[in-house]
Structure formats: structure tokens, C-alpha cells
């Protein structure tokens, strides 16, 4: 037991200090040694002593610095996600934002012109090269619809190297009767719609065709450019040559081409049979008329003869119309003018060049997006932090109050 005189207290309470020191409890030596050892190990388990902190150890980051680091890292990650997402601003070139500078990754690669959207009121012109294609045709490649029972077939091409060549229209039996037609869309630039239309007329004249109708409109590039729609009729025998020449015009390129055919062999045979029947009936009636002896029989046969001749005339007309459709083909030509655009590779090269202005723009955009993300994060985290702080304070207050009550209850 230590002597009472060890107390360092002031004289005012020295008597009480002596009294209290007299009854002071001291820790057992075993406990003191054990606790000393634990402290020497920095409270680590005996088998794995914890490394003591020395003056050479790296300083620990303050908690606020660690929190700020985590928040900053989160903001950077969010900015990267936002900027690297679909349509991210970092891929814009120089901040122009114009559609002409965006790389065109879809559409026909063979075209040298961009595809500005049009209002759709222009005949034969669509918002895409495939816009003028018939229903069922697929843009970007050739598709051949298998003819149902050999009735009709069509071949359409919007891209590819075979634009200038004749497209196969499906297998045709020898002697089959076909109605063929074609449609071709041409593109031109620099206000050459007139020249292209004139070239088209020259081709039609050379192939012994005729112009059924034509509409040529001049317009400034700002208004969308000029356009023309021409309907032609050419001998079927010259259809392929006509299409080949139209595909090789000097000032135009082909954006789409469609060839279609319809097998009318059955209809042609039926018309021929009806015509033959009508002729046979007429001959029979004529013979009966020669042999008729009574006036009544003559009147009746003449009436039937009129009907037979009318039927004969209708059959001849139908057959002649079908013959004309078979022997000539309708060709629709649409010519559209578009402003020239850059090749994708040219646009790509322009967009990847490094300039200080572009780098500054990108850096500014990163900063703006990061600031926005930080602002949103603050708007969420500040109220949440206040609520959490209030809850933590209440929890600590309640815990301390329970402790105090435990002390009072120990009386």
C-alpha cells in the first residue's frame, strides 16, 4: 500500500485526499503485467504483434481528405461514364455540332454525297437513298423477291458495284411473255439537274424510246436543290441498254435502281384464246347467215354477229394492249441534287486533328460536366448528410443518457 503522502492535491482537500488514498485499490501485478504486454503489442494478438507506428511511417490522410478523395474519384468516374456514353460530347468535332461533320456510318458507302433530310414532298426523293424504293425492297443491298407461281419478280439495288449493270429478274421460261419496268434514282451536284435530264433524253432517243412525262425543278442548294422526275417508255429489247447508259451518265451517280418484271404469259394466252374463239364464232355466224332462208333467222344471226364482232374487237384491243406492254417497258428516272459533302475519311481526319482550341473546348466541357455532376451530388449529399448527422447526434445523446441512468441506478 503506498503512503498517503503521495497525493499531489492541494491543501484545501488534503485531508480528504489522504482518506481516499487510504482506501484506494491498486491493480494486481498479474493484471498490470498482462496489460503492459498488451499495450507493448499495441493490443495485437500475441502471435502476430502489430507493427508499431514510427516516425518514419507515412502520414495518414485526414478523414476529410479521404472523403474528398472518394467524392472526387466518384465525380471523375461519373464524368467518364457520361462523356463516354452514346452520343457523348467528346466525340463531337470542334464543337461545331453540324450534321455535316458527324461521321456518316450508315447509308450507302458508295455514295459520295450526304443525305440531308427533305420534306418528302419532292416526287421520287426520300430522306434516304432507299426512300424511293418500292415497298418490300431492302436498302443497302439487293433483294430478289421470288415470284409467286412465276407471276412477278423485282430486283432492287441501292448499293454495291452492280448498280450500273442489269439486275437479274428471275428465271424466265423460253417464250414467256413479260411486262418489264425499271426505276432509277440519280444524284447530281452543283446544279446539274438540267444537264442530267438532257443526257437522259439523249439516251432515250438513242434507244428509240419516248418520254411519257417529265418534271424538272430548279432550286437553290439552301432550298434543298433541284430535282427532276422523268417517265420514259423504251422498247423492252433496249431496256437493259437504256438502264446501262443511264447508270453511266457523266454528271450523275446512281443512288438506287429497281428492275421489275411481271409474267403475263397466262393472260396473253387467254386473250389469244378469246380472240380465236371470237373469230371462230364470227366465221360460224357468217356461214349460218349465208344459209339462212327466213327473215327471222337472218335477223337473229345478224344480231349474234354484232355481238361476236364486238367481242372480237375487245379481244383484239386487249391483246394489242398487252402486246404493247410487253414490247415496251416503262422507266422512271428521278434526279435529285444534293450539296457535295466530304468523304467520311476526310471528316474523320478533320475531327481527330489536335488544336489548342479543340483541346480547350474539350477540357471546358469536361469541367462543365464534372461541375454539374458535383452539383447534383451535393444536392443529394448535403440533405442526406444533415439527416445522418442529426440521427448520429440523437443516437449519441440517447446512448449517453442511458449510461447516466445506469450510473444513477447503481445507487
Amino acid at each position: 500500500m503506498p503512503p498517503f503522502e503521495e497525493s499531489p492535491l492541494a491543501d484545501e482537500h488534503s485531508d480528504v485526499a489522504l482518506l481516499v488514498a487510504a482506501v484506494r485499490e491498486w491493480p494486481r501485478e498479474e493484471f498490470a503485467r498482462e496489460l503492459d504486454a498488451r499495450v507493448a503489442r499495441a493490443f495485437a494478438p500475441p502471435s502476430r504483434p502489430r507493427r508499431r507506428a514510427t516516425g518514419l511511417s507515412l502520414p495518414r490522410l485526414p478523414r476529410w481528405a479521404a472523403g474528398a478523395f472518394v467524392a472526387l474519384a466518384s465525380a471523375v468516374v461519373a464524368a467518364v461514364i457520361v462523356l463516354g456514353g452514346p452520343g457523348g460530347g467528346l466525340r463531337a468535332t470542334g464543337g461545331g455540332g453540324g450534321a455535316a461533320r458527324v461521321q456518316a456510318t450508315s447509308g450507302p458507302a458508295v455514295l459520295l454525297h450526304a443525305s440531308p433530310a427533305h420534306g418528302g414532298s419532292r416526287p421520287g426523293a426520300g430522306s434516304s437513298p432507299a426512300g424511293a424504293l418500292p415497298a418490300g425492297a431492302s436498302a443497302g443491298g439487293a433483294s430478289i423477291n421470288a415470284p409467286a407461281a412465276g407471276a412477278a419478280s423485282s430486283a432492287t439495288s441501292a448499293t454495291g458495284a452492280q448498280l450500273g449493270a442489269a439486275l437479274p429478274a428471275g428465271p424466265v421460261a423460253p417464250g414467256a411473255k413479260q411486262i418489264r419496268s425499271a426505276q432509277i434514282s440519280l444524284r447530281t451536284a452543283d446544279a446539274r439537274v438540267d444537264q442530267v435530264a438532257q443526257e437522259t433524253f439523249e439516251v432515250v432517243s438513242a434507244e428509240h424510246g419516248t418520254v411519257i412525262s417529265s418534271q424538272i425543278t430548279q432550286a437553290t442548294p439552301a432550298a434543298g436543290g433541284g430535282y427532276a422526275s422523268i417517265s420514259l417508255s423504251v422498247p423492252t429489247a433496249n431496256l437493259e441498254a437504256t438502264m446501262a447508259q443511264l447508270s453511266r451518265l457523266r454528271y450523275a451517280t446512281v443512288s438506287s435502281r429497281s428492275d421489275s418484271s411481271q409474267n403475263v404469259s397466262d393472260a396473253y394466252s387467254a386473250d389469244r384464246r378469246r380472240l380465236a374463239d371470237a373469230e371462230a364464232l364470227r366465221l360460224t355466224l357468217l356461214r349460218q347467215l349465208q344459209q339462212a332462208s327466213t327473215q327471222t333467222a337472218i335477223d337473229s344471226i345478224q344480231a349474234q354477229l354484232k355481238l361476236a364482232e364486238a367481242q372480237l374487237t375487245r379481244s383484239q384491243t386487249a391483246l394489242a394492249r398487252l402486246d404493247r406492254q410487253i414490247s415496251t417497258s416503262e422507266v422512271n428516272v428521278s434526279i435529285n441534287e444534293f450539296p457535295p459533302v466530304y468523304f467520311p475519311v476526310v471528316a474523320n481526319r478533320a475531327s481527330t486533328g489536335f488544336t489548342l482550341a479543340r483541346a480547350g473546348h474539350d477540357a471546358l466541357r469536361v469541367l462543365v460536366v464534372s461541375a454539374g455532376i458535383g452539383l447534383v451530388a451535393l444536392a443529394v449529399m448535403v440533405p442526406l448528410g444533415l439527416v445522418l448527422a442529426l440521427v448520429a447526434w440523437l443516437w449519441a445523446w440517447l446512448r449517453q443518457r442511458r449510461r447516466e441512468r445506469a450510473l444513477d441506478a447503481g445507487a
Binding site: 497525493s7 499531489p8 492535491l9 482537500h13 485531508d15 480528504v16 485526499a17 482518506l19 481516499v20 488514498a21 487510504a22 482506501v23 484506494r24 485499490e25 491498486w26 491493480p27 494486481r28 493484471f31 498490470a32 496489460l35 498488451r38 499495450v39 507493448a40 499495441a42 493490443f43 508499431r52 507506428a53 514510427t54 511511417s57 502520414p59 495518414r60 449517453q400 442511458r402 449510461r403 447516466e404 445506469a406 450510473l407 444513477d408 441506478a409 447503481g410 445507487a411
Partner: protein, 180 residues
């Protein structure tokens, strides 16, 4: 003599095991004496004392010199640990002082009879005090805290701590000097 010197600065204990070790050596017995005054049994006092130093070591980075002395900070931790032990006791409804943990009976001799009587009287007087008064006495005379440090540990104002201490001392004096 207690080591009450504390260097200037904000976070002396941070990253300095040696400084914590010095605090431990200067405060171990005082913490134990204070805790056993609150709890009353040796085993619990040993556990709570060890727990208090372990908590203090774990939280040494949060010690801020500007908010008080390191001994006051340490006794605050010990107080919370002891009060947690009291709460646990209330929940488990164990005996406050178990027979096996009673303080060892001092060896009686003829020379110590008068001294032992005096100690018994002081123990009885301390037992008669309210728990908060006993705590004040322990913090003042076992831990050697100033009134300001007392206020910091107990969460009261300094003047209030002084008043409470004065009343507890007077009560203890009266109890010790009272005729048996």
C-alpha cells in the same frame, strides 16, 4: 509523480505510439482505481480498464488537444466503458459484487489495527455516497483531474463540477467523522 506534461499542438497522440505508451504508464493505476470505484469488483474493473486503454489506442487519432487534456480524454473513455458495463449488469441482473471478486482481506496485524479501522470508516463513508458523488471523488482524488477536466469528463460546466465536488467532499468528511 504523475506525468501531466503534454506538448503543445493539436493531435499529439496521432501516430505516436510512444506518447500513448507514456499516457498509459502515467494513468494505468489511476484508471483502474477510478473504474473499480464505479464498478465495485476487481474482475470487471480489470476488464473495463483494459477495454478503456484499447479503445483509447484505437481512437488516438481522434484526440484533439484543443478539446481538453489527454488524461481527461482518457478518463472520459474509461467512464463510458464503465457505464456500459453497469448497463450490461442491469440487463443481465448479476450481482453488483460477486463473492469471489471481493477485495482481498488485508493481513491483520496489531500495528495496523488503527489504520484498518480508519480505512473501514472511509470505505463505509464512500459507500454511503451517491454514485455520482463517489465518481467525483474518484476522478478528483484518484485521477487528479482539475475542475475543468472534471467538467469535461462529466459533461457539465466547470462551476457546476466545482460545486458538485465541494458537496461530495463535505459529505464524505461528515460521513468519515460521524460517530460510529
Amino acid at each position: 509523480m504523475r506525468l501531466r506534461h503534454a506538448p503543445a499542438g493539436g493531435r499529439e497522440l496521432e501516430g505516436s505510439f510512444e506518447r500513448f505508451e507514456a499516457l498509459y504508464r502515467s494513468s494505468r493505476d489511476d484508471v483502474y482505481a477510478y473504474v473499480i470505484t464505479l464498478l465495485g469488483d476487481r474482475a470487471s474493473a480489470e476488464d473495463v480498464t483494459a477495454l478503456a486503454f484499447e479503445r483509447a489506442y484505437a481512437r488516438r487519432h481522434s484526440f484533439d488537444r484543443r478539446r481538453g487534456d489527454e488524461r481527461a480524454w482518457l478518463f472520459g473513455i474509461a467512464r463510458n466503458a464503465a457505464l456500459d458495463e453497469l448497463r450490461r449488469r442491469r440487463r443481465s441482473a448479476t450481482l453488483l459484487v460477486e463473492p469471489a471478486n471481493l477485495p482481498e482481506a488485508p493481513q491483520r496485524s496489531a500495528d495496523d489495527d488503527e489504520l484498518e479501522l480508519r480505512r473501514a470508516a472511509v470505505r463505509a463513508a464512500l459507500t454511503a455516497l451517491a454514485p455520482r458523488e463517489r465518481e467525483l471523488i474518484a476522478l478528483k482524488f484518484h485521477a487528479g483531474l482539475t475542475n475543468g477536466e472534471l467538467a469535461s469528463v462529466l459533461g457539465v460546466s466547470e462551476s457546476n463540477a466545482g460545486t458538485m465536488l465541494h458537496r461530495a467532499v463535505q459529505k464524505l468528511r461528515r460521513a468519515v467523522n460521524a460517530p460510529v
